[in-house]
Symmetry: C2
């Protein structure tokens, strides 16, 4: 009788923190580029911004009305209006008018510069002048004595030159860009958007909606990763579906000019592990987690590559645990995943030797597994329900309702 | 003495709900188009989706290993392995293999179709076969008796053909598209993305960073609205800055092919109200709110137009109260703004005759005004701090710490 070969020793799995460290080590210090402000929407500010203009940049009227000297209108009431000759008309956008002479008023529009000598603006509604008339009147009746400075916005009352406006590391949304424009910026120092290449691997994959040959399935990882990358604020500039052909995989990746490649599949214990075979310079290991145990990461040429397992739920989990923090770092943002503490809303089992990431949805503020079959890694159709990943630590083999857990928030907020 | 003209009667302001009704009446029933699934990211599903394929579509292996008949391996243990000849090799993506004959095993990869006759898959780690070897062995030693169905994913165990997968009215993210692809869809019925034209008006406006002429200020409303529109899930396809020239404004708008025009400025009580004068077919009125009282809305040609006031904080408030719900309706989504109930974290005053929308940020779960000057409408530099709008109802003239208020959430969630 032949000797039986010994059972292969399984390599001890690595810790989540160790794989995370490997992944994060792939992020270079992100570049800083200067871009016209109008093209910076969604980018991350690379430097703090201070005001280059005061806000408002000059003292101006907060209302459509008449600029006056207080002493001229002190006794105005609706019953005994004060009548003043109108010495000028100041539309918004006009340069500063002549000084306001005592005993006169000037018509002034919202945002127009206050004339020297004027103390306040009387709203048009507090005069006998009808709003919306193009020509100013020769004379105006003032019905109300304004407070000093009424309806006047003082130069710099909101911000002085040099005041801080925006911190570095902020995702630039409309309000940020509006603030930056208001304080005089036209170019902003930002981090360029990371360009991501996405590869789904496997000879069994067909395009969405294509007729399926026997043994084939639709590729869902490609659209899944493209969507997750967009949601993480990066842009998919290259995307491919590669069969179990290591040379082809290598050719695709080395032909791309991207900041990061994310692959799905081909890194497990099978005979046809296209990513393992095609990208031998990566580190591959098993991480003590479920799902998403097999993981790979490294650099091919000069391009960081992270290699996720192939099952869609494993892709989803691995993306949120590893790829999203890496993309955040590439963008110049803090990389910590958003965690909340919540109670379990159901009972489920967990493998004691591993950290479990259970896909959950919120139900009355508790975390409930999205699918009766739990964290099995192929339940792609339940992915749209997932709002978070409940983290069950190693050493725990069962979760009971009410147990407090950390939940990695993957969609919206807690509800 | 000349007779004094009577003080112009101010038209009574309209209610917020009335202006909201006018704005929402501008939304046509959104069209439904069929698009390739890969191009549907961020669009809204127009019809519920059901499964056209079962998930999994065929019974397949959940692991890399060996397909066996239970009766052949019932007594396998590490000390007394069962040795079976390997009758075949089934990679993922291959058509179904020949049936598994009694007394044999077949090597099988994750996702590959199970051969007829096989009851379970023994993971490669439970055999003497080393993982990652291209050629299958002639014979395999099995170290463990599997449970019936172990490591097998049954056809349809996740979803049966016809099962519901996605509701209508869902924003299609990566998980949604992955689910749709998995259940056999290649084209999806979606709402087209609304195309928005944005106009900032006023002769005083300069481009961001440009040298300012006397009386000029940088245009912040253009970038503000462009960012808010993008955040609302629509796309700015046209954008212009128009001086106080009603004919020019009209020419710009009538030259655009967009689904909605949003203007800022030129609708108040001044003499040069370019939007009022250029678009007389709109309805203009004062809404009983602060800030953002002046509002306009209507149709120019066949294009809905909403006319917001010109101060940036008024633009921000008006966008969230009126424009964002309209854009949601144009996308085929529910239009209700996201409201939460929260306590005030500070004291402030409110005009009793109007509903106040106070820009607030979260501080220890309470709503605190973002700026010491409160809801004044020109504090553009404070906009990046705003996380919500605290709604102070008409009839209330002061808010005290601890008062419960509705807060319209404009950024992130409550923190």
């Amino acid at each position: 009788m032949e000797p039986v070969r010994s059972r292969p020793v399984e390599t001890a799995p690595v810790e989540i923190a160790d794989h995370r460290r490997l992944v994060m080590s792939l992020a270079p210090e992100p570049a800083v580029v200067e871009m016209p402000l109008e093209r910076c929407l969604g980018l991350v500010s690379a430097r703090p911004l201070t005001a280059r203009l005061a806000v408002p940049p000059f003292t101006n009227s907060a209302m459509d009305g008449f600029a006056v000297r207080l002493e001229d209108v002190r006794d105005a009431t609706p019953g005994h209006p004060v009548r003043l000759p109108v010495a000028g008309d100041i539309p918004a956008g006009s340069p500063a008018a002549e000084p306001l002479e005592a005993g006169t008023a000037m018509r002034i529009m919202t945002g127009a510069p206050m004339p020297v000598g004027a103390d306040a603006v009387v709203k048009v509604e507090q005069t006998d002048h009808a709003p919306g008339i193009t020509s100013p009147p020769a004379e105006v009746a003032i019905f109300e004595a304004p407070e000093p400075g009424a309806n006047v916005r003082r130069c710099g009352e909101d911000l002085q030159i040099g005041d801080p406006v925006l911190e570095a590391g902020r995702v630039l949304d409309g309000p940020c860009l509006a603030a930056a424009a208001s304080v005089g910026h036209g170019l902003l120092a930002v981090r360029p958007t990371p360009r991501i290449g996405v590869i789904s691997t496997g000879s069994e994959l067909s395009g969405a909606g294509q007729e399926l040959a026997a043994g084939s399935i639709p590729d869902s990882n490609g659209v899944l990763l493209a969507g997750l990358v967009a949601d993480a604020g990066a842009v998919v500039t290259e995307q491919a579906r590669v069969p179990d052909d290591p040379a082809r995989l290598r050719e695709v990746i080395t032909g791309w000019d991207v900041d990061l490649v994310i692959t799905a599949g081909g890194i497990s214990a099978g005979a046809y592990e296209v990513v393992r075979q095609g990208l031998p310079e990566l580190t591959f290991h098993k991480v003590a987690q479920q799902p998403g145990g097999p993981q790979g990461a490294g650099v091919v040429g000069a391009t960081p590559v992270i290699a996720l397992p192939g099952n869609p739920v494993s892709v989803y989990v691995s993306f949120h645990v590893y790829a999203r923090p890496l993309i955040a770092a590439l963008r110049g943002l803090a990389a910590e995943p958003p965690m909340v503490r919540a109670g379990a809303g159901a009972a489920w089992r967990s493998p004691a030797a591993k950290t479990q990431f259970m896909p959950v949805r919120w139900e009355d503020g508790t975390a409930v597994p999205v699918h009766r079959l739990g964290s099995k890694s192929h339940l792609v159709a339940s992915l749209p329900l997932v709002e978070g990943l409940a983290v069950v630590p190693a050493g725990v083999d069962a979760v009971a309702p009410g147990d407090a857990l950390d939940v990695l928030v993957t969609r919206g907020g807690i509800q």
